[in-house]
């Protein structure tokens, strides 16, 4: 845990704001290629860290210089895990929309929107805090590594 990268906690919250807008547009327009693009953004954040995701880069270049340095830094692991949770919902959503199962697409996208909105509006990381719940519901992912 201590070896993990420390990041400005306002970065993930900024990214959640853009994500909220993008997911709302996807739901209103049902234009799933935009959801596919959001899935790529989630994947970049989960695989390489939030600083290297497009929204994270935008934050560092355009927003952080105006805000000044953060009061404190946070461990990168929680928001990175949340990006992976977002990726799963976005992929399921794309599969739903693209295969004609619009209801599945809407439900998955709505779940991701809820998590992103809670993050930006209440600074609450649903994916992070409910890690144990997610693990109990789907034990396959991490039990293999232990």
């Amino acid at each position: 845990m201590s070896t993990s990268q420390q990041i400005d906690p306002r970065g993930p919250r900024f990214a959640a704001g853009i994500t909220t807008v993008v997911l709302a547009v996807v739901l209103i327009t049902s234009w799933w290629p935009l959801l596919a693009a959001q899935a790529v953004v989630f994947a970049a954040g989960a695989l390489f860290g939030l600083r290297f995701s497009p929204y994270g880069t935008l934050y560092r270049v355009a927003v952080q210089p105006r805000l000044g340095p953060p009061a404190e830094r946070e461990d990168e692991a929680p928001p990175r895990f949340a990006q992976a949770v977002g990726l799963v919902f976005a992929v399921v959503g794309v599969l739903g929309y693209a295969s004609g199962s619009t209801t599945l697409g809407i439900v998955a996208t709505a779940a991701a929107l809820l998590a992103a909105f809670l993050n930006v509006a209440f600074n609450f990381c649903l994916g992070c805090e409910a890690y144990l719940l997610l693990k109990r519901l789907g034990p396959s992912a991490s039990s293999q590594t232990t």
Binding site: A24, L27, S30, F81, A110, F117, F122, E129, R136, T146
Partner: protein, 137 residues
């Protein structure tokens, strides 16, 4: 049209959920007995009240909780604090009925659960609730 309604519905539900979660943050609930304690917890119990914090690697508020509770325990002889990372041992969380991290559970030296707190505990509220079990005042 459906999509727009879904967006409005999700944002409304999210606002309600957000306020509910915020209200529950740091709230103290009375403890309940759950049978035998996991060995990792039982061996961590000190002579006074022990605050057992359940954390995972993927939990940002866990770090703040750890800092706050260990500072509190350092100042008091009748209170100790232990942080258990259950990322790779979820069976501990399951036995204790913990679904959200951080959850802090206060135990007596005999292993009886006094109370539990979800989220970042408020020091004063926590101490008030623990008062009957503490020797220092």
């Amino acid at each position: 049209m459906t999509g727009l309604l879904v967006v409005v519905g999700v944002l409304a539900a999210g606002t309600v959920i957000g306020f509910v979660l915020r209200g529950r943050e740091g709230a103290v609930r009375s403890g309940q007995q759950r049978g035998e304690l996991p060995a990792r917890v039982a061996e961590a119990l000190g002579p006074g009240v022990t605050l057992v914090q359940i954390s995972t690697t993927f939990c940002a508020p866990c770090r703040h909780t750890r800092a706050r509770l260990s500072a509190l325990a350092d100042k008091r002889a009748d209170l100790s604090h232990v942080d258990i990372d259950v990322t790779n041992q979820p069976e501990i969380a399951e036995t204790l009925g913990v679904l959200r991290t951080p959850t802090t559970i206060a135990y007596t030296s005999a292993g009886d659960e006094i109370l539990r707190v979800s989220g970042l505990p408020e020091t004063n509220r926590l101490l008030t609730a623990l008062q009957p079990h503490l020797s220092e005042h």
